[in-house]
Symmetry: C2
Subunit: 488 residues, 2 copies
């Protein structure tokens, strides 16, 4: 149990690293802590709230809301966890032929089938080969397994790169606003400066080069040396998908300004509109004729998102291109300090990037599972988008990709005043009231950043499809009541 | 592939974070890189070296050298990877009854059996309950699941604590010399100062309080504010096990001096001598009557070591006691930024701390596997210890615990000169020659720190038992030849 008296203890809030104090992470912040308390209360004392259950729309955590794993992936993982199963005949009725084949193949690549051993610091070479093949199939440009660093999800990869790029508070990182708060948290923890660039809500969260230029110049004038540009595509929390032309402009901008392009591409499989397609920044760069010596690029990918949504596996990788050999040695050294990422996550990353193919027995059922999840996500996104747009004073951009909507609420003056009296921001005030009244958990826009004076929240599209009508009606009823109470 | 020309790229070795440059990690350093190259050469061109295979004695990675996983643990993990197996009758012939029972129990504790979901930032509550129970059974003092933070192995836990404690280079951390280089690397990455205290080789790597006091005073006189004391017990790389009396002195010292005690207890299951027993620092503190308000203590544990040796799973935890509620909130926040550790690692940590018990069907076979591994490790340690002590100019302390020996070699002047000419340290020179001649990979003492003018290397006790005679004869022959060449 936590001690309440600080006096006798050597560590207090006043003498810990101030960078830790500065760091914020709203996705698991105040509102979520409140929701967890309420969930416990509901368990101990059913009927203690106006609803039966908490509906978590705060975090991109699909399996926690009932999404099922892709069978093939889990079959392979189970066999790799317990390789001696492969010597037993009985497994033929329990596992698909393709999973047995793939697991055997993977285990053959690991000396002694030792999934319990530390691997190479970048991850098992043959799994990186499979990922490189997957990247090539995706981009139509080659990928090198030596460029791939497997990590425990994308978050530690982002930290590693920030650690490399940030020496002092004079090192700046251009980040979109709104942004996924991993970036602001990581920049704060490493003592750098977040240089914000604002996405244009009016043009569907467009990324304007003029805005990038303006913010870069402004940072430079303050003595900030801007090292890198973060782009999240598909967008989090904003859900937009960049056009190819826009991506080309971004690549050109980075090349011109000498910025490392940090491409958060973890939602690459989550696109819900037929007129948009995912293009990796590497593909865009190579299509423009930019090679290793022209642009420094890090692409982050994760097994937690997409149709797989395997958040609990903590698998992911970064692909690093356009870095000199000596800098790469430093990256390798830092990766080595943590020895390697977890092997199940490594295996899953290779499966996600190299899934069943035409001709595999399992191909059809795999596609059915994949497409079932993706089309359901698309329907849920549309349904929620429409619901938000039907509310008074709420506008919501098109849900093109990722797992989120980021509606804008024009809050009445009276609500803003009430928030002030409650000593909180207006969007947090709204989200807290929403939670108290309905059990729906969303994250206030201030956790992601927003244009001053505008208010948003992030809502995932992940509640099970049969619960979406309930989410919509809870949200709608609450919003009406809220507006009635606070309308100017 | 890495670019060779730096000129056109924005990031070079000259403008990255200097803390990254300072960090070193010899366990996967120069000698190991050389070994990996030689391994590739042997594969492409057998006979290209004087030996058939590389024998990795550089790293505590038991499964990579043939140690088999504990069957029960892997059965449970496989079932948790693919929960729908539990609905199939056929599994009864494939998995033990106890594994089916334990997996069902664990999955019941995870809403929707969703092992693919992010968990609570500290890890799944019920798994922490099981760990707390295991700690209680070990220590005979209660443990609180809220004190436990599950992590991807012990390394990220150490980083998290260093991040919390270190603000500037004026923050010092007392570390043993020799030490496991995770500590020096983490302190360097976070920009703090390593305050060394020397273990006394002559008294079996004894930890003298007078030495701690001396180094603490010396650091203070340089304006360093010492925040914490790292103790590794059983020792890495030194293999000693602290006595209870010595642990009591250490606890008292930390209490008196206002230091956080960082207890690396990852080798708690690796003890090879009948007269020594593992005592956790929490047990020692509580036995002394020190509670939450008296001492701030972090205990690190990992699934990578012990008889389980599941390095690839990246499971571990830290137990944090004696921290105020507001500081714990900060630790929780930083843990939240990375969402959670991998669920398989979490499950395995709960199994390791709460293994089969008397009365379980599987108990006997589990014990046989466990004791088989531990007694073999003890035999290997003894055999290597004796071998080192039989060599000219080599002395080696008793292998009481952990997985390592850290023999001291009195190198002849001629060898020291030759090292100088080869532009390397004498111990690295010796280890490189050893590798070149025999394929045996050990880590030079300079990677861990050693008293100036003394030379050591760390050798794991992990090669398979049937290969130990070969390791011994390769080492012995090499050493004789080396001494003959360089004897003064």
């Amino acid at each position: 149990m936590a001690s309440t008296s600080n006096d006798s203890l050597p560590i207090s809030i006043h003498n810990i690293n101030p960078k830790v104090l500065e760091c914020e992470y709203a996705v698991r912040g105040e509102i979520v802590a409140l929701a967890q308390r309420m969930e416990k209360e509901l368990l101990i004392n059913p009927g203690s709230h106006a609803f039966d259950e908490i509906l978590y729309c705060n975090i991109g955590n699909p399996h926690s809301l009932g999404q099922q794993p892709i069978t093939f992936f889990r079959e392979v993982l189970a066999l790799c966890e317990h390789p001696s199963l492969l010597e037993r005949n009985e497994i033929k009725g329990l596992f698909s032929e393709d999973a047995i084949k793939r697991a055997s193949q993977i285990l053959k690549q690991i000396p002694g089938k030792a999934t319990g051993a530390y691997s190479h610091s970048q991850g098992i070479k043959e799994l990186r080969d499979a990922i490189a093949e997957g990247i090539k199939a995706r981009d139509d440009f080659p990928a090198d397994p030596n460029d791939i660093f497997l990590t425990n999800g994308a978050s530690p990869a982002v930290h590693l790169v920030m650690q490399l790029l940030i020496s002092t508070e004079k090192d700046g990182i251009l980040c979109p606003i709104p942004q996924y708060p991993l970036y602001s948290a990581s920049i704060a923890l490493h003592g750098g400066t977040l240089v914000p660039y604002y996405l244009d809500e009016a043009s569907g969260w467009g990324l304007e080069i003029s805005e990038l230029k303006k913010q870069l110049e402004s940072a430079k004038s303050k003595g900030i040396s801007v090292r890198a540009l973060v782009v999240i595509n598909p967008g989090n929390p904003t859900g937009q998908v960049l056009t190819k032309e826009n991506q080309e402009q971004i690549v050109k901008f980075c090349k011109q300004e000498g910025l490392v392009l940090l491409a958060d591409e973890v939602y690459q499989a989550n696109i819900y509109v037929p007129d948009k397609k995912f293009h990796s920044f590497k593909k865009i760069s190579r299509s423009m004729g930019y090679g290793e010596k022209d642009i420094s690029l890090v692409s982050f990918q994760s097994v937690s998102k997409g149709y797989y949504g395997e958040c609990g596996k903590r698998g992911g990788y970064m692909e690093i291109t356009g870095f000199s050999a000596d800098v790469r040695e430093q990256i390798y050294k830092v990766a080595s300090v943590n020895l390697c990422s977890n092997i199940s996550g490594q295996i899953l990353a290779s499966l996600v990037m190299n899934p069943p193919k035409v001709g595999d027995h399992i191909y059809e059922s795999y596609c059915a599972e994949r497409d079932g999840i993706l089309s359901s996500l698309a329907r849920r996104a549309k349904r929620l988008e429409a619901a938000f747009n039907s509310l008074e004073n709420v506008t919501c951009n098109k849900a093109e990709g990722a797992m989120y909507l980021f509606p804008c609420i024009k809050l009445p003056e009276k609500a803003i005043k009430a928030a002030e009296e409650a000593d909180t921001t207006p969007d947090t005030f709204y989200c807290r009231q929403l939670l108290n009244a309905t059990g729906v958990v969303v994250v206030p826009g201030s956790g992601f950043g927003q244009v001053a004076g505008t208010w948003h929240f992030r809502c995932t599209v992940l509640p099970p499809e049969n619960k979406i009508p309930d989410v919509v009606s809870r949200l709608t009823d609450f919003h009406k009541a809220f507006m009635n109470e606070y309308r100017d």
